[in-house]
Each structure stands twice: as structure tokens, then as C-alpha cells.
Symmetry: C2
Subunit: 212 residues, 2 copies
């Protein structure tokens, strides 16, 4: 397993040129989406949703709002991670209801946990909650990118897009969502020379601090 994971993570790179002919089947995409679903988030709260886009004309519009990066249209799929704008008591109640259902337990026995989460949310200002929510999506992003690499599927995570334009084009605002980070997924083109470039990392001593 050690070698398998290491090899996959070295094979991974932010793909610049995708092969537009290589389309992922639902069966191929599923493990990546499922890894995102199984990623942890603060308290386990369902803070984000993922928009999975294949439509080419829609992606042409999105590309114009993403510095014209070809990955947006040329990859098999584009995935937009968006957070809920309303992280509130209603969301906590929905989560608690799902917990009671999943674990076959009384909602009443979960009141303490629910109240704790509600108290936490109330104690923070809206700006803080917004950033906290955004950070959770990056855990899911990490799970997606690593899982894709393990399945020899290429990805390109991207922050270079206009979230407001994305929200408008995708109608996310009306769904109470805000786009935070996106990634393209598919298969690299043989012409992508950036696949050959060695990964640049500072020496371990500049990354890890040991305190024994």
C-alpha cells in the first residue's frame, strides 16, 4: 500500500491539458464523488454541495469567468464545490434528523449535541462562519484529488475563477449556495508537457518541525 499511494501521489499533478475525448463513465467518477461524501467536516455537518457539470455550453460560459482556462471545458467533468450560505439551526436540525435516522436513535437523545452545534454557530460572526465553511470544502477537495490519483484519474484544482459569476451562471444563489473552489477531472492529454515537470517541494527540514 505504501508504494501504491506514494506512486499515485507522485503521478498526480495539476493537469493543464486534458484529452477532451476521454470521458469518465459514471462508474469511474463515482469513487471520487463518494470519497468527497465520506470526507470529514466540522461536527460532521453537511456544509457543502458539489455541482457536477458535463454540459459543454454551460462550461464555455464558466470558462469565460475562469481566466479562459481550457481545463474548464476540455476535462471530462467540471466539479464546483459550493458552501451553504445558511449554516444555521435549520441545517443543524436536518443533520440531527439524519443522524437519528442513520443510527436508529431518538432525536431527543441528540438534543445536547444539536444545542452544542447551535451554540457554536451563534457564538461566531457571519464572516468567520463563511471562512470556516470554505475551509471544510478543501478537505473534500483533498479527498477527491487523492482518490482520483489512486484510480489513475487526472484532476486540476482551480481557484482562478470569479465565484460571483459562477454562482450566477449556475444559479447557485437561488439554491442558497456559494462556489468556493473548483476542479476539472478526466484524463491528461499526451501533449501536456507539464506532466513531465518534477514536483517542486522545499526540503523536509523546511516543511516539518519535530518536537520530541
Amino acid at each position: 500500500m505504501k508504494e501504491t499511494v506514494n506512486k499515485a501521489l507522485l503521478w498526480r499533478y495539476a493537469t493543464k491539458v486534458f484529452d477532451p475525448e476521454k470521458i469518465l463513465t459514471k462508474e469511474e467518477l463515482h469513487p471520487v464523488l463518494d470519497a468527497m461524501r465520506l470526507a470529514p467536516s466540522a461536527f460532521g455537518l453537511p456544509i457543502w454541495k458539489a455541482v457536477v457539470i458535463t454540459d459543454k455550453s454551460l462550461r464555455t460560459k464558466l470558462r469565460a469567468a475562469a481566466w479562459n482556462q481550457p481545463q474548464v471545458t476540455d476535462a471530462s467533468h467540471l466539479i464546483v464545490l459550493a458552501v451553504r450560505k445558511h449554516i444555521d439551526e435549520k441545517l443543524v436540525d436536518a443533520y440531527i434528523a439524519q443522524m437519528a435516522k442513520t443510527r436508529n436513535t431518538d432525536i431527543e437523545s441528540l438534543t445536547g449535541f444539536g444545542d452544542m452545534m447551535k451554540g457554536f454557530i451563534r457564538s461566531k460572526d457571519a464572516g468567520w462562519i463563511r471562512e470556516w465553511a470554505a475551509r471544510q470544502t478543501y478537505i473534500a477537495l483533498g479527498f477527491a484529488l487523492e482518490t482520483a490519483a489512486l484510480h489513475q484519474i487526472d484532476t486540476c484544482p482551480m481557484e482562478g475563477f470569479d465565484p460571483k459569476q459562477f454562482d450566477e451562471i449556475l444559479g447557485l444563489d437561488a439554491q442558497g449556495l456559494e462556489s468556493k473552489v473548483i476542479f476539472a477531472i478526466g484524463h491528461r492529454s499526451n501533449e501536456d508537457t507539464s506532466a513531465l515537470a518534477a514536483k517542486v517541494r522545499l526540503p523536509d527540514t523546511e516543511i516539518f518541525i519535530g518536537m520530541n
Copy 2:
């Protein structure tokens, strides 16, 4: 591979009770740290450092600043992800120098890329950069948690700690660092009943939005 990854991600949970006798060897910990190192970050910039802590008396102090959560002291290791406070031209230059060295190319040929990053950083205010940096650590966190699970190593990601107190106890401020998120790593105790609780996730239709 599909089944292996899915099994590992279902096996993973935020471990509440670690077995303090089960200490990870350097060889066991290495793939997890290495996955963090290989995780992507914006532009590839080395935005964070990870503090790897075994010392028990140090962890006792940290536990007091983390709601007295036993994972902090009882897991094999505690890992603190901290971002650089100075994300500036100097950091870009260090990264560009490393890139030239790794890829055996002239620094001059990378001037355009360096200038682009410097321009990006200059165009944002300090608060935005701080949050942007924090988000990058969560990608590395995702890679660490997934990789650990693939190696049957338990983790508990934690946001419930006082970053300022952590920075003081660990002397991070003097090193130009700020703690952002932490995780405990080791092996679960047989007594941790939370290992048995089913993962709570909303139905797929509440998580994924398909746009074909």
C-alpha cells in the same frame, strides 16, 4: 483499488479514544507526512509547515488549550498545521529558487511565473491572504487523513483549540507561523465505542447537483 479505498474511508472516523500504548514508528508515520508534502497548494507555494509532536509534557500543556480533549495527549503523535505569516516576495523567491534547482533550469526563465505570484499576493489584502493560506492547509489535512486511513492508521482532525495559546506554547510566533488546524494520529482504543457509530451523511441528492 475501488474497494480498498472505499473500505478505508468507511473505516476512518474521528477517533475519540486512542490507545496510548500504540506508538507509530517513523516508518509508519512517514507515508502520512509525505502525503501532506505531496499535496497541492495554490501555485505550489510552500504556504504551511507541520509541527510533529511526541513530547508528553508539551502535549499536556496543549491539551489544556484544546478543551482538554484526550486525543491531544493520548494519540501516538499530535500534528499541528501552521501557515506562514509572511506570504510575500521573499517566499516566492525561495520557491522559485527551489523550482530552478529541482527542474535544473535558470531562475531567469521563471521570472514571469514569480512576478505573476508576486502580483497576485500584492493584489489581495492581508485578511484575504490569511484565509487563503488557511484553506491550503486543509488540502494537506485531507491528504493526511485519507493516506492514514489507507494505511489503517487512525486520526482525529480538530479545530477545537486556541490557536493563540498553541502558538505561544510551541513558540510558533517567533518562527513566523500561526497554527490553523491540528490532528491526532495513532491507533484507536478498543474501548472507543464511537468507532461503531454509522457515518451520518445526507442522501446523495442533497450533496450532489448534476448539470448535464
